[in-house]
Amino acid sequence: MFDLIISQAPRFFTWYTFVFVLEAMGRTLMMTVIGCSVGAVAGFAITVIRSTTSNWMMLFRLAVTVYVEVFRRIPFLVILFIVMYASQGLGSNISLSAIATVSICLVATAFLSEIIRAGLESVPRQQLEAAQVMNFGFTRTLFMVLLPQSWKVILPPAFAFMVMFIKDTSLASQMGVVELTFTGKVLMNRGYSPFLVYGVILAAYFALSYPLSKFGAYLENRLGSPQRRKSVERVRANSGPEKRELVG
């Protein structure tokens, strides 16, 4: 049963395969980071537009809200297909990985704008009122009152979203974008056993995602206010095995 795998292993685990997979990991990471960075900027812009109150911005607010609600509810695969065929239909000639990156931007914008909005809303209302009393304008309130207090709340979930999206980029392989999953297909076409190939691809994704998610958890711990950390600890301390005696 495992004969094939064992016989192929020495041919498979070579320097060449290692470099090939490593390059693909780099490309996967690059697409995600670019997509999410653009998404963060655009998402911030969307949040700013949504937080305006004037009448003449109403139409923009509506459009942006619809955008966020719609793009959070379409599968990434379908968005990829639409972007790809739309760009072909328009006759543009951009590369497949650019199409994938644009799709990531579109989705990341929608999701990150929600994260940023939740973060800004976490600032106590009294702070806003105080800013108003001191006659702060819109921009000044945003950059001197809201952002300095909320970036700590925004950063951990935004980072977690990016780490999550590393995994979702695997869908881009279906259009022929040469990233980690597609590399697996290429290696399989060379005749290697899928067991080896997908095992290695899974390990590569794990190697990308695990350190980053650990870093995200560290970030969350580090940035959380002492009060919040204490409450988390209290919750942890109150749960666990000793509770069983009380329940039973």
Binding site: P75, L77, V78, F81, I82, S170, S173, F195, Y205
Partner: protein, 224 residues
């Protein structure tokens, strides 16, 4: 640059697509409930199990939450035949999504159980409640209220995530869209309609789940 939209063929195929949408919901439903069973077992093992069991569950969660569901199903579908296990596409997708959602749901359920404070249970004991009563009137309502919103979000995520079944030839919504678009060559129109169906589907699901949650658990659900 000039492209004429023609929706007529897609509209004709709308019943076919909607049947695919039903299958999408079925896949999400089945993997949600099977995943919940795994999640419940995992959460219990993690909270009350021995050291070995806890470590095993932790390994399961880390492995499945740090790798893409797509590659996991690739592994099930293409790699397992090497060791003599051949799976149907549908079975592979269901197993993959179930194992994947089991890992996420373990975390959600565990955080729900952890949110019950010791003082509440002590109060129940003081009031002379029996074990069963404590579970029914103190612990369960609390857990339900805490985890209902994440569970709803997760279900919506699963509805969207089940679209990767199309890659393995499962004829759910996206799979049927690919079928249609390869026949009528109206890909943009087909996929826009499918996107609209997904939006409608998840909106209905969110609103319905939100209403149920408000009514039953007094959970505060934000639909928008």
């Amino acid at each position: 640059m000039d492209y004429t939209f023609q929706f007529s063929n897609v509209i004709q195929n709308l019943p076919y697509l909607l049947k695919g949408a039903v299958l999408t919901l079925e896949i999400a439903f089945v993997s949600f409930w099977l995943g919940s069973a795994i999640g419940l077992a995992g959460a219990m093992a993690k909270l009350h199990g021995g050291r070995l069991l806890r470590a095993l569950v932790s390994v399961y969660i880390t492995l499945f939450t740090n790798t893409p569901a797509l590659v996991q199903i690739f592994f099930l579908f293409y790699a397992l035949p090497d060791v003599g296990i051949v799976l149907e596409p549908m079975t592979a997708v269901l197993i993959g999504l179930t194992l994947n959602s089991g890992a996420y749901l373990t975390d959600i359920l565990r955080s729900g159980v952890e949110s019950v404070r010791k003082a509440e249970i002590e109060t129940a004991v003081t009031l002379g409640m029996s074990g069963l009563q404590t579970v029914r009137y103190v612990i369960l309502p609390h857990i339900a209220k805490t985890i209902y919103a994440p569970l709803c979000n997760f279900f919506v995520w699963l509805v969207l995530g089940s679209s990767l079944g199309a890659i393995f030839g499962v004829e759910e919504l996206t799979g049927r869209a690919i079928n249609i678009s390869t026949a009528n060559l109206r890909t943009i129109e087909t996929f826009s309609v499918v996107a609209a169906i997904y939006v409608a589907l998840t909106f209905i699901a969110s609103i319905a789940l939100g209403l149920v949650g408000r009514h039953l658990f007094r959970a505060k659900i934000k639909v928008f």
